[in-house]
């Protein structure tokens, strides 16, 4: 502001009209607001307001059944900290994230490396790797629940044909999560694959030619050129994947409904059950806020790590 205001002393011919001279027209000054207004309104209405009302609700015994609500203070929060189901389901979410993220990154990279150099087979690999991603969750889970069935499922058919015992994948506590992870990797790895493929195609061919002239082996080219040049993409994929995995709900709800014995129930399902099946919106809001904080913490940690790598790159 100070820069724009000309010093009084240098003001040349002081005219009487100067103070009244209209400044920039009102529309020019505030016009920007009109451009963001549509988004601003939507943002406030669908994100800001529900977020704040969720926090507000967490201090009340708000019920979906429409009964009179009363102020509880921090009692929902207290109950949450003493509720083992909250921590068990949060743990399941984190376990799923830890189990699914590494294969979803590594397998996508391997598939991209395979598909990138293929000439004739390339289009087929690209299609085959990406195809499952376009299926809806309901179709994917329907297929995989059959594949995992004991008695007539494909996986157990292969196991018994190979002389192994059948495994009841979805109804065994320590196997169900693995089964869900396998399904998720099959279903969603295509998206990361596509990101990697695009990044690979962005690496100039000359770099490899130069390396080849210098006598670098294929292995050296991979570890000294390809992977370092992909590090930005890897960072992006890891962030996107962590967020996607923390949001896990659909395939678990459809495949195991959180069972057996709640061994796969993610935190979002617990929030859904508390809020919608049991009508306890207030309590579900408190749990949601706790999960919100977990995601914020993960994001900050991610940001730090990612930022650090950028420094190292230079």
């Amino acid at each position: 502001m100070a820069v724009q205001t000309p010093p009084r002393t240098t003001s040349s011919p002081p005219t009487t009209t100067a103070p009244q001279r209209p400044g920039p027209p009102w529309t020019e000054k505030w016009g920007g607001l009109f451009f963001v207004a549509p988004f601003g309104v939507l943002f406030a209405f669908f994100l800001l307001w529900p977020t704040l009302s969720g926090l507000w609700n967490s201090f009340f015994n708000t019920s979906l059944a429409g009964v009179q609500q009363e102020f509880l203070g921090l009692r929902n929060w207290q109950e949450m900290f003493g509720d083992p189901a909250v921590w068990a389901s949060l743990r399941n979410t984190l376990v799923f994230t830890a189990m699914s993220t590494p294969p979803l990154v590594v397998i996508a990279l391997v598939m991209a490396l395979l598909a990138n150099r293929q000439g004739l087979l390339g289009w087929f690999l690209r299609f085959a790797y990406f195809a499952p991603f376009v299926l809806p969750a309901t179709v994917v889970t329907l297929i995989w629940v059959w594949i995992y069935q004991p008695g007539f499922g494909l996986v157990n058919g292969l196991l018994t044909a190979g002389g192994f015992a059948e495994i009841d994948w979805l109804n065994t506590e320590n196997r169900a999560m693995l089964a869900v992870v396998i399904t998720t990797v099959w279903w969603t790895v295509g998206f990361n694959f596509l990101l990697y493929l695009a990044a690979l195609q962005g690496i100039p061919e000359q770099v490899y030619e130069a390396a080849a002239i210098d006598g670098a082996s294929g292995r050296q080219q991979l570890f000294r050129i390809t992977l370092p040049l992909l590090s930005r993409t890897t960072g992006l994929i890891v962030v996107l994947q962590l967020v996607a995995s923390l949001k896990i709900f659909d395939q678990i709800y459809l495949m195991t409904d959180g069972g057996p014995n709640y061994a796969t129930r993610p935190i979002i399902q617990y929030i859904y059950e508390s809020g919608f099946t049991s009508y306890r919106i207030g309590y579900a809001s408190a749990v949601s806020y706790m999960f919100f904080l977990v995601i914020v913490i993960v994001s900050i940690a991610q940001f730090r790590l990612f930022g650090g790598r950028k420094e190292a790159d230079r």
Partner: protein, 428 residues
């Protein structure tokens, strides 16, 4: 001068006006105010039957605007219905499991049923079993009209059971009573199938346990409904028998609902313990089968079950004509419930139960005698079909059948989960 030369605009306006008048006239003759929107949760074989019955209703009631909507069974249905009722913009009528009536907060989410209108439509209290009718009342007000009862029953494959020597001269399965005869029956069937005796749903064995525990006359809540009074010895006896069936290979150790249906359909099991609603499935599959009451394994005849009812979800502004038409619809459905019974459910409306049309339905009429002994779920806001208590039972008991946990551990887990639900402040 303008009048003699109508412009294009005036012609258009006039045409639109005429069209409007015509529409209004049409509305008047249609008695627009009688609108019935119905929400139900029947997605299976009974859902297809419901649509046929509805078509008949619509054909007979041209003056009512009727629309039916089928939503996904269980929590999704109840969540949507609860939200629409809490907002006061619910449909005119919906189906509800009787066991969930209390959990559905009659005070805020349901409107009482006008008894005078119901009586005018020809439906009165003596038309129902007293226990069922009483359960539809809360604080002296009627909140639900029962359509049917659906007990846990015994399905049997007639070919397999004939080979096992279990059928009487009339072709019906010979009733057994007591644990040992029950086990003998299962062993004989397993002998024939070479695989299992009975198909059951192990991922949620609540109905099986509740039936056996009920036959032992075990309690659940005390009078106040605030304290758990599960009789450990009886609960463990029931759970132990189920674990034994699985351990001996008479029933699968692990089977979800689709597997239960598949194993009975493909002859891996000659018996099936389930609710009666899969009749249509097995009839369509041309399976040689019949049905009977579930055996009285312990002391008294009791069968886990529930009833579908019609309720009036809460509307902030209720239209009298719509309500009257809705009550007419409910009464019509009850009087025509023989067709509904073909899907397996026992009609709640007693004149239909006594009708030849129902009595001639085979195998649907074979188990009608159990209706007075249907055992509803414990009365609590977290109990009932698809509600939290059944989920907790499934989580705790599935491991017992699979042999991962002992009956004692399973029961302790279930009791702890139920206590936690009791301690949770009721949201209704």
């Amino acid at each position: 001068m303008t009048a003699s030369h109508p412009t294009r605009r005036t012609v258009l306006t006039a045409a639109l006006g005429l069209a409007g008048v015509a529409t209004l006239g049409g509305c008047g003759s249609l008695r627009r105010d009688a609108r019935i929107r119905e929400w139900n949760l029947f997605g299976g074989g009974d859902g297809a039957r419901l649509l046929q019955i509805h078509d008949k209703f619509v054909a007979e009631h041209k003056d009512m605007a009727f629309e039916a909507h089928t939503l996904a069974w269980g929590p999704p249905f109840y969540t949507k219905l609860a939200m629409s009722a809490a907002g006061g913009r619910a449909p005119e009528v919906a189906t509800l499991h009787l066991s969930r009536l209390k959990g559905f907060s009659p005070a805020t989410m349901l409107d009482p049923i006008p008894l005078d209108l119901l009586a005018k439509a020809g439906i009165t209290e003596p038309d129902f079993l007293p226990a069922t009718w009483d359960r539809c009342k809360i604080d002296g007000q009627l909140y639900a009209v029962p359509l049917d009862q659906h007990p846990f029953v015994l399905y049997y494959n007639t070919d397999i059971c004939a080979k096992a020597g279990l059928l009487g001269p009339d072709g019906r399965i010979k009733p057994v009573r007591g644990v040992e005869p029950f086990l003998d029956m299962l062993r004989a069937v397993k002998e024939v199938t070479g695989k299992f005796a009975a198909s059951i749903e192990t991922t949620n064995p609540w109905r099986m346990w509740w039936t056996l525990y009920g036959q032992l006359e075990g309690g659940f809540f005390d009078e106040s409904g605030r304290d758990l009074v599960i009789d450990d010895a009886k609960a463990l006896e029931a759970l132990g028998l189920m674990a034994k069936l699985a351990a001996d290979g008479l029933t699968p150790k692990s089977a979800d609902y689709p597997s239960l249906v598949a194993q009975f359909s493909n002859g891996d099991a000659g018996l099936s313990f389930n609710g009666e609603w899969e009749v249509t499935t097995y009839q369509t599959a041309k399976l040689p089968f019949s049905m009977a009451p579930f055996p009285v394994v312990y002391d008294v005849p009791k069968y886990a079950g529930d009833a579908h009812t019609f309720v009036l979800p809460h509307q902030a502004v209720r239209n009298e004509a719509d309500t009257a038409a809705t009550i007419e619809y409910i009464a019509w459905m009850l009087k025509n419930s023989a067709e509904w019974a073909a899907g397996g459910h026992i009609p709640a409306y007693q004149p239909v139960v006594a009708s030849p049309e129902y009595l001639n339905l085979k195998p649907q009429a074979e188990y009608r005698s159990v209706a007075p002994d249907v055992l509803f779920d414990p009365d609590a806001w977290f109990s009932g079909s698809g509600a939290q208590l059944q989920n907790e039972a499934g989580a705790a008991f599935a491991g017992v059948l699979a042999g991962r946990t002992t009956p004692r551990q399973g029961l302790d887990q279930f009791k702890a989960a139920t206590r936690k639900l009791l301690d949770t402040p009721s949201p209704v």
